[in-house]
Symmetry: C2
Subunit: 336 residues, 2 copies
């Protein structure tokens, strides 16, 4: 176990992710997580204008390399993805600047960065660093899940590092990540172990907010329970609580089906819930009160498009509209 | 639907992934897929020696950029991941060179590239291009699955492209990818649609080869079926067959549980099976005969560590040992 030293000279355990989360929620008086799902077709106009500045930050990198390799000028495709990744980075920084005071974490959607290739992954790394600089936690949303040897590699990628003959290769440095439990307990254990060793957390999919979740997650088992109840027991068992009482392994529990939340809380009394589906997906903050039974950090309310696209109604700037929507959600959840 | 023009001037449908796969298997007389799961601690020695050559190919890129940003010399961490990604690329190219004649596809494990950050993703792109140059299909193994809007982004990332104000951003360009069905049918449909539009395929997890798969995939449903049987029906329904008769949506069906294969084939008569678990995970080629009921392309036999690490027994070079092991598997599967 990793230990730090307290003032009295005795080693004390490092805080768990549950402890870190509890402290962050109390300090910032917010349970709101900003989902970052950048769509290149819906970037804030200012971000597009500032793409060249962001590109300098992202790097001469790829274009230099392609040019050095003999492609001069670089192909239109190379330029397109560099410029797009740079504009996405500028957009994400502006979004974080706008809403940081109202949120405790950002949740970058890995798919939205992966679709821009290596420059997109580089933008994701910059977004992670920038969010940390603003005092925010980073929840990497990739819903990874694989056989144990590969799960260990995902843990290295997201919250740990990889040994190599050339030195240690740092991973993304997220504070937590989402995981898919379909492959069973042994596929989750390397993720849990790696996260725990780094005071990080894992949010395991239990009941998602999409319509199709009914197909499989709601399927009745031979004992009459639904599959998501089975998954909830597994997640409850995997988590460990620190002094603050909240477990370090969380659950993704879609806010579009609030009638499930009381049962989920019964099965996972001390598990932090990540609640997507507020706003654009139709969820309602007031309906999620059961999530907060173990304390204010028991429920993290995620909103993405409803914040980033708030300016589409009314005539405020994107940043003003995003800030107001995030603050509205913050007040509403905090008052529950 | 995308169409091409046949000799008689009438438009004919583009080949489906099932057709492309059938043709590739017939032409190359192989059903073997090389799993590429590079572990920096187990790279072939020649790859480590050739890292600087590969780094020039990967690019001055990141190091140039970091230096241009004022970090001169680059930090040890930056160098470590550049060198590691370069060595991984050299290793993958050497592995492909060694076994290409015996295989029809490569299956890069995305986790192993993601753990090296943006340079790792760049190495993955180079591996994809290199495999295509050798006439091989590329099956991107990331087991992605998410709500529909995000699933669409994964489709763009892996087999399609993303529109942006700066032009079209090309994705990885894989020929197929693996997907996780936990979130239900609506989470798979954008993946299927995007893949189909690009003559690509999707291999959906149905019954994996790890021990823990019994926890959830083998769970009995209220109607007495196991969850994997439910998933098999879903996958069968999603696939469409072209003239060659094989469907374009496949199933990942672990070869470590061959007693399941006959039932899986019954539920998915014309679905291509991706069979991991041969070799290092303990599966046996001879036991998987039911996979080939719809023809030789009905079962793709995946092996990774058993090929890349074949030199650990005996005294052949890594390349010779890998080639021999891949050829042994090819002959064994082809003779079934």
């Amino acid at each position: 176990m990793t230990v730090s030293h307290s003032g009295n000279g005795r080693p004390s355990p490092s805080p768990t992710f549950g402890d870190r989360l509890s402290q962050a929620v109390a300090e910032r008086e917010s349970q709101i997580v900003l989902g970052i799902d950048p769509d290149p077709a819906k970037l804030w106009p200012a971000a597009i204008d500032r793409a060249s500045e962001a590109r300098a930050r992202l790097a001469l990198t790829f274009s230099d390399a392609e040019e050095a390799a003999g492609e001069s000028p670089p192909s239109a495709g190379v330029v397109a993805r560099l410029e797009t990744a740079a504009a996405v980075l500028a957009h994400c920084r502006a979004l974080i600047d706008a809403v940081a005071p109202a949120v405790i974490a950002v949740k970058p959607q890995l798919a939205c960065f992966e679709r821009l290739g290596a420059p997109g992954w580089l933008a994701l790394e910059h977004v992670t660093t920038y969010a940390h600089e603003q005092g925010l936690l980073v929840l990497a949303d990739g819903k990874r899940g694989d056989v144990p040897v590969t799960a260990a590699a995902y843990g290295q990628a997201l919250v740990a590092s990889t040994p190599s003959p050339f030195g240690t290769v740092a991973g993304l440095g997220a504070d937590a990540f989402t995981a898919n439990p379909l492959l069973g307990r042994d596929s989750l254990e390397p993720l849990v172990q790696t996260a725990r060793e780094h005071q990080a957390g894992v949010f395991v999919l239990v009941r998602t907010s999409n319509t199709g979740a009914a197909d499989i997650l709601d399927a009745r088992m031979h004992n009459g329970e639904r599959l998501w109840e089975h998954l909830a027991r597994l997640v409850d068992d995997l988590g460990q609580a620190g002094p603050a009482g909240l477990k370090d392994i969380g659950a993704v529990t879609g806010a579009t089906e609030p009638e499930h939340l009381a049962r989920l809380r019964e099965l996972m009394p001390n598990t932090p819930f990540l609640l997507p589906g507020i706003g654009a997906q139709g969820g309602d903050v007031a309906a999620i009160a059961p999530a907060f039974a173990p304390g204010k950090a028991g429920g993290l309310v995620t909103a993405s498009r409803s914040i980033a696209n708030a300016h589409e109604t009314g005539n405020r700037s994107p940043a003003e509209a995003a800030r107001a929507e995030a603050e509205r959600l913050r007040e509403q959840a905090w008052s529950l």
